[in-house]
Amino acid sequence: MSTAIVVSHVSKVYKHYWGPRSLLKEILLGVTSHSRQWALKDVSFELEEGEAFGVVGDNGAGKSTLLKILAGTAFPTQGDVKVSGRISALLELGAGFHPEFTGRENIYFNGALQGMSREEIKEREDEIIEFSELSEFVDKPVKTYSSGMFLRLGFAVATGFDPAILIIDEALAVGDQHFQKKCTDRIMQFRRESKTILFCSHNLYQVKTLCDRALWLDRGAVMAIDSSARVVDQYTNELRQERKPTKGESFERPKDSLDCAIERVATLDAAGRPCNDFTTGDCLRLDVWAFFGERFQGTPGIAASIVRNDGLLFYTTTSTKDGVKLLELEPGHFYGSLVFPSLPLLSGLYYFNVVTTDQENLQAYHIVERAVTFTVQSPTDSGSVKLEHHWNNQLPDDRQKAS
């Protein structure tokens, strides 16, 4: 395997001149007359040949700038980019089309723009026309095309000349549902043919499934480069964090709870080792040590809630409601263990809120928010939780009768 793309320490500054006169002033007198905007800051990564690489990040994170630099339509201010193999970029479909010319003429012109010779274009002409489903329209001026036909031809032309590296910005598929299927099929075919793909999208699910690795950009800087699943999860966690309305931790501690306190909390894996990183379906154990003083009357209880980092409460349970008595290790010191034998949570960053209660669960004595945090990875499913399910491929009895 050889490397297809090497990006080393690439930074990009956009200069914003205050006007044509300040530009002239800067050139003639050498007076700085512009403000700078860093679109990319010291970005480095390598792409193996045949790898599918995703780029995620908020709007304005520098994704488009990065793609433009790789596509060769913008140049880095610092650092350099080495690309081996011919690149085709799906940045804007049909960007090079001339409305007055026919589809066929535009195929030739765009082929030429991509550096193809006349013979090479001729070779692929029929295939492109067939893929774009233009048939008799191919010899009509492009200006007469519907927007769907325009995009179809644009996609066919961008992917039709057998590029070694394909850069996709959002537009993974275009047109109606039927054509979208053809688009994704073609991308998957590129994937099978071990072409290098650079994919930038807000559709995190697509990034996760299509790409091997991914890059997370935030305000021009690299936040993470890792397997696409891990990067997407990290990015999602960050997104949820931002979405949470109030971030502040509160240790609400009523005066009379002084002697009812959570002492220690830990998450453990199936083998009983302390663990904070889980995979969906794993066994998760939460150990809680609490102290209930002499003033406390009744049955000591512990409540635990699972909350995602965007503030969404997933589940709350209490030991007393489940009818479990805590183990008294020493006088006043209690221990309880909450076990989720098969964790149904999907990817995300979660934490436990732990509370000491009495048997009626009416009184919350000591509330510890974010007592312990843990992450969950899920390689395949998407959503929030894994729901128990199964598929049938036979008609159930009641249906059989009906038909």
Partner: protein, 261 residues
């Protein structure tokens, strides 16, 4: 720089043909306009200058040849004006292309220059046919024009690169060009022979490389007196310098250019 152009010869050909065809889309006779235009122009000039005004060109005794002299100079002049003026806007006009597709920028001005030259060439064919008809063609030398075409194209291309780059930074360039060409038209001995210019101003004409260019063409096509070797050398050197200057400016501004378009 020549290798980039060779690598992209098919693209350049496509651009030129696109440029020429786009001018005539929807028209009935199409590219024939490129022949009809100079033909009508030449006939018109002949009628006005030779029959109405009865103008003689310099020492030439015949009144019928004024249009020939004029046309000989006007064809390269129009190629220059069209090539440079349109090149000054070509980067901005093709912004969607430049921003979305990777290809060498220099092919854009070159294709404009070649399309202008294409029209000059068709005009020259018309001129040569008329000259043959008038029996005034310099049969021994007119093929030499092809050698001078190379320098003429290099010069126009170089100037085009300069203005194409600069106009991205200062959009005034396109405006300045209009004024400049108006001025240049009269300090180039096109509608008058150099010998008719007052002695005191002649140094300006000699300083103008275009003077030597059109005198060369008149020598080649019409058998006018050979321009001074120094003048010819001056023009050729100017072409080369301008060509290198064009590339120098393009390479210096290339990176920032695409951000500003």
């Amino acid at each position: 720089m020549l290798s980039t152009l060779l690598d992209n010869k098919y693209l350049i050909r496509e651009l030129v043909s696109r440029d020429i065809r786009s001018r005539y889309t929807g028209s009935v006779v199409g590219v024939f306009w490129s022949i009809l235009n100079p033909l009508i122009q030449l006939i018109l000039y002949t009628v006005i200058f030779s029959f109405v005004l009865k103008q003689r060109f310099g020492e030439d005794p015949s009144t019928g040849r004024f249009a020939e002299y004029l046309f000989c100079a006007l064809l390269p002049w129009m190629a220059l004006q069209e090539g440079v003026t349109r090149s000054s806007r070509t980067f901005i006009e093709n912004a969607p292309l430049i921003k979305k597709i990777r290809f060498p920028l220099e092919v854009l001005p070159l294709s404009v220059v070649m399309s202008a030259f294409f029209h000059q060439f068709l005009g020259t064919i018309v001129l040569v046919v008329i000259l043959i008809f008038n029996q005034t063609l310099n049969l021994d030398l007119f093929a030499l024009a092809f050698v001078f075409y190379i320098f003429q194209i290099l010069m126009i291309y170089g100037l085009s690169l300069v203005v194409a780059c600069l106009n991205v930074f200062f959009r005034d360039i396109a405006q300045i060009l209009g004024v400049l060409f108006m001025f240049m038209f009269w300090v180039t001995p096109m509608v008058y022979p150099k010998t008719q210019a007052p002695e005191a101003f002649r140094w300006i004409l000699n300083l103008n490389p275009l003077t030597h260019m059109i005198e060369t063409y008149r020598f080649v096509f019409l058998g006018s007196p050979f321009p001074s070797l120094a003048g010819l050398a001056y023009w050729v050197a100017f072409s080369m310098v301008v060509y290198y200057l064009g590339y120098f400016i393009l390479n210096r501004t290339r990176n920032e250019l695409v951000d500003l378009i």
